[in-house]
Amino acid sequence: MFSKWGLSAHGVYILLSIYYFGVSDGFLNMCGYIVPESPVVLSTGSNFTAFCVLKDPCPPYGRIRAEQVIWKTKTTVVPKEQYSIINETVSSVTFRDTSMLVSPLTCNILLPGDFIQNIYGIQIQQGFPPEKPTNLSCIVIQTQVTAFIQQCSWEPGKDTFLSTNYSLKSRWPNKEFPDCIPQDTNNSCTTSSVVFYVTLEVWVEAKNELGVAESDHIEFDPIKYVKPLPPHKLSLNSGEFPRILKLSWENRFNESPQELKYKIQYKTSDSTVWTEIPPEDTASLRTSFTIQELRPNTQYTIRLCYAVYSSKYWSNWSEVVGFTAEDRPSKGPALWRNIKTSDSTGNWTLRLLWKELNPSEANGIILKYEVFISGRPPLSFPTRYYTLNTTQLTLNVQSGTYDVSVTAFNKVGKSPTSVLFIPATDSKASVKNVVAFPEGGKLWVNWTAPKESVSKYIIEWHEACSNLSCTTEWQQEPGSKQRIFLKGNIEPYKCYIITVYPLYIGGQGEGKSTQAYLQQGVPANGPTVRTKKLGKFEAVLEWNSLSVEEQNGFIKNYTISYKTVTGVEKVVPVDPSKTEYLLSSLSSNTLYMVRMTAYTDSGGTTGPLFTFSTNRFGKFCI
């Protein structure tokens, strides 16, 4: 039974050198050995028996017996209940569950004087047999025009805690391919031998000292799992056509038959939303595609990827940027006027204003504007023509009725002409109920339309400011609108005066105005109060209204707070339209402290403290 125990002295020496447990007087060379020999690989949780075979006698200790054997796992003595004496020179130890067995396992003997001497030790590794690898899948990746790699991956299952070899096996019925051995991983392997249109059988084998496991076998045609290199040499050409772009490219997957399908997506370069060409339009081999219904003079980003028709893997995207050609402007500029009447002559300073077209209307670079103006009888004002590259024209003219037209030009052509009828007086119906209010961070304007059909509205606005230097802005809206928001840089805490003008074919209504804040704040300052008159029992206080720049909102009301040095403060509300107030029932010859607060919807701000004394004598009757 023990015929295979023979060990070379050299092997034992190495082992004992490794397991030298602090014994100062050296080893008991060749005094015994353990069966099984190192390395022992055990399935975690299994049972295990080891035998220590003693060499008897063993100089210099003379006779040694199995009864003297003490087993240790690392430095812990194994309980004697686990020992068995096989014969005089063989002791065994049994572990019912190896999960608690700590390597190394050593055989030792107890010598006189309770001295424990190590005889032999073995290294024990524990782990699990490999689990069946699962989820095996493969992809064929094109690395160069004529080179492909096949990458297969799988889930190896739980850690075996042992050295476990994985090999990816593949075959045709008439050929076994060399195993693919993963490098530095246990869950994928890459080969470079790829033949399309032939079904390949692939599986994974996992093997360690405790067992072998094999994944399910999968069969696939590599052409159905190929991921090609992305297309390259992309170019875009619009030619003279403003609404198309021809995308050209080179395919890099040249394996015949080239059954390719494409995805083409495009977007304007400032957008994040891609539009995709319907797949049925790009489902066959090609090296160009013309994208239609684009906007003129617009930068587009176009991306392209492709796949083998039967494959589920798409190449990476390739991207290209290009411009569509210019087209003539699609719309005339919005047109308005500003009139200042001279006090002395009654003549007008007529400023004609028009808006730059936005890019989607300009369809190119606007090179010039052509302006025509003519006066209607009784004016003697023959048509004048101007070519400008600015967006306003100021003329000193007699007051009267005028027709104005403006046309924008780019290099392709001209826009439709915008016309403005300037009547001598705004005699047509006005809008009603103009209100403005903030909503969603914008300043909205609502109005009630006149009964007559309005062709368009002009909404003018400017900041209310005391020095009249605030610039007026305007926007044009279709005649169907009755609710718009102001398109401009509208700031909080500033009061805007907004006017709505209805324009008719052959006339204009008078502008109707309202005032609004985008956001109200507390006033920047409180009113500075002072006495206007003083009496024995009364005082008239006066103050200046806050300037519009100080208000930061609509002033709802004022309060006046006043008290004597020792008295209780009294507060009286004051209408915001007032600029003076009579304090009565005061004590004579008494010092009063007074201050005033102005309130908006957002809160109040108090002005400086002011003191006054009532008169000792009733000099004045207020």
């Binding site: 033949v195 249109y197 032939v198 052409i223 394996e255 015949s256 038959p257």
Partner: protein
């Protein structure tokens, strides 16, 4: 609408594959021959280019010699049309079973005669593998159609150690490879018409 051609063989009664599966296998094999047409043409061009004179001469056009298991693929139109599906498949299978042996032999010789030409070696290796793949597909179709393999003829690569003979033999093999791929492609087109997907 064009009627599908009548197959001269019933689908194998004991086989588990449906007619549709057989048709797909034939289509796939046809695709493989299309794929190999390109590579076999490239192999022949590259081979001729690298053998030196007289192989690259415009008038170099020796009569192609057949080999055991690798007959000449060319047939008259009448003879070709007179073949049955079984005969076509058996002839192709014989040729593509023999070609890997011959191509392997050419590769060994070229590694000796033109050792730096790694691209040629790669092409020969790839062609060898493709022939095995095509043989595999052809046998699969035959099995599905219940066609027995034809008589086996062992390939016998040339043992000559004369460099010119080796080059000429290699030329014949590369030529026959390309010609058999072209022949097989035509045969597969004919078969695919009888088994439309």
């Amino acid at each position: 609408m064009e009627q599908p051609l009548q197959a001269d063989l019933p689908a194998c009664s004991g086989c588990s594959r449906s007619r549709q599966e057989i048709a797909l296998e034939i289509e796939r094999t046809h695709n493989l021959t299309l794929n190999m047409q390109v590579s076999s043409g490239q192999l022949l061009s590259n081979y001729v280019l690298l053998q030196g004179k007289p192989f690259g001469n415009p008038d170099f056009n020796p009569t192609i010699q057949p080999f055991p298991g690798l007959p000449l693929p060319a047939l008259s139109m009448a003879d070709w049309l007179g073949l049955t599906d079984s005969q076509r498949l058996q002839q192709n299978t014989l040729a593509f079973s023999s070609l890997p042996v011959y191509l392997a032999s050419v590769k060994r010789q070229q590694m000796e005669l033109n050792s730096p030409e790694t691209e040629l070696h790669r092409q020969l290796e790839s062609s060898h593998l493709h022939c095995l793949g095509l043989e595999n597909n052809l046998k699969s179709i035959m099995s599905s159609l219940g066609i027995m393999p034809g008589p086996a003829i062992s390939a016998k690569p040339s043992e000559s150690d004369n460099a010119f003979i080796m080059k000429l033999t290699g030329y014949y093999i590369c030529h026959l490879f390309r010609d058999w791929v072209n022949r097989c492609e035509k045969d597969m087109v004919l078969l695919a018409k009888k088994y439309p997907v």
